[in-house]
Symmetry: C2
Subunit: 218 residues, 2 copies
DNA sequence: TTAAAAATTTAGATATGGCTAAAAATAGGT
DNA sequence: ACCTATTTTTAGCCATATCTAAATTTTTAA
């Protein structure tokens, strides 16, 4: 159907569309894909010829309906495989991304249908990101950043914004696990760090951390 | 490490080495890879430069130690994935090959180590072929073709030589399953067909079938 | 409003893996 | 031994997905 590169471009455009409404710029896409702008232009033309994106010179790209559907399918596969790796194969959540990047391109509808069933239809991957269902629907629940939580209020940790191994290992080290309840004891206006109550202990959290943890309020 | 093409060539050479002792010929390899002899020559040169095969012009190729190790690793991955697909994801044994051809190239040692553990260290894939262990050792048991079994003798079906979907579906249709005991009632010298006792029923088997079923004697 | 800066595209090149057609080497039969 | 048929290799070309460097368009700011 589509090449590995094409699928990766579609996925990248999908992720960037959240931040760039009026079309994803060539440079933004080049940075996301860790390649050069000229390579992006070439690929974007190809995707456009295949009607996966809408593209006009110097105007950036947007996914077409087909392009979006394809991107969501790849994301679904990626997140199901991540869940499989953590739940069945003892992977830690900071080491699944790379392998899932490869597994997401395996072409077999039955494989994914059956994997989904085998995993009992998980709703979120190990980082708390929603797994779209077979129809491409995300089950987006209301979530907010820990940084937005007011002093005294509590929430349950449901996901991470940054899922770099460094951050995930920081969370492991501090026993911050998805599903855990946390309460804001104190906010420091000087550096926007906060003191939270978690695991029946107090923990100081920097702004950088609070800006990258999703919670839902009780 | 190695490209998808390189891995597929190594696998093909490994399989062909059983029949062609003195080096695998370019044409044989071309047929196995479903490509042209000229393309094979090019690739074989590349493999030779990487010391994965020993190659001299017009003399065919043999795997080097490294080449053989790599080929066996790929075969191990292929067969573990086939087992996973059948045992965990409800695939039939005639539909696993294509998907396993893709999965076998995923690069992660941990993935395979953990998959092996998760599957509880299976010794044979769904077609009865041995799965090499992490050290690359096949646990080859003594096996023979059903066609070689004498009249009156019994054996247990342990594998298939031909694993084409057509043949596998023929076996399904006739309830010939790995692990089943079968006894030769009569051999017809005219066409080398045989009458066997299996599942408490008599069944007529053509020479083509008997030449493609592995059994072990009791 | 126009010149400099930034972003984007084009042109031309590279590497991989494959192809066709032609040349070269080997193998077989007499 | 030699001529022919088969096998294998070489030479030159194609497509994908990259890259660098140069050209072009858009944006910004004086």
């Amino acid at each position: 159907m589509f090449s590995l590169s094409e699928e990766n471009y579609l996925k990248a455009i999908f992720h960037l569309e959240h931040n760039y409404q009026g079309g994803v710029s060539t440079n933004a896409l080049a940075e996301e894909m860790e390649t050069k702008a000229s390579s992006v232009t070439d690929m974007v033309k190809k995707l456009s010829e295949k009607n996966l994106v809408n593209y006009k010179k110097y105007q950036g790209v947007k996914l077409s309906a087909t392009g979006k559907r394809t991107a969501v399918e790849v994301i679904r596969k990626h997140r199901l495989w991540e869940y499989f790796l953590v739940e069945k194969l003892n992977f830690n959540w900071d080491e699944v991304h790379e392998v899932a990047e490869e597994l997401e391109h395996i072409k077999s509808e039955k494989l994914i249908t059956e994997l989904d069933r085998f995993l009992e239809y998980p709703r979120r991957d190990p980082h708390g990101d929603p797994i779209p269902d077979a129809q491409g629907n995300f089950n987006v629940s209301n979530r907010m950043l820990l940084a937005e939580l007011e002093k005294g209020k509590s929430g349950i940790c449901i996901g991470v914004k940054d899922s770099s191994p460094d951050f995930l290992r920081y969370l492991d080290k501090n026993k911050i696990v998805l599903g855990k309840e946390m309460q804001v004891i104190e906010k420091e206006s000087f550096d926007n760090s906060m003191l939270i109550n978690i695991n029946e202990q107090q923990l100081r959290i920097s702004q950088a951390v609070a800006m990258n943890l999703y919670i839902k309020t009780l």
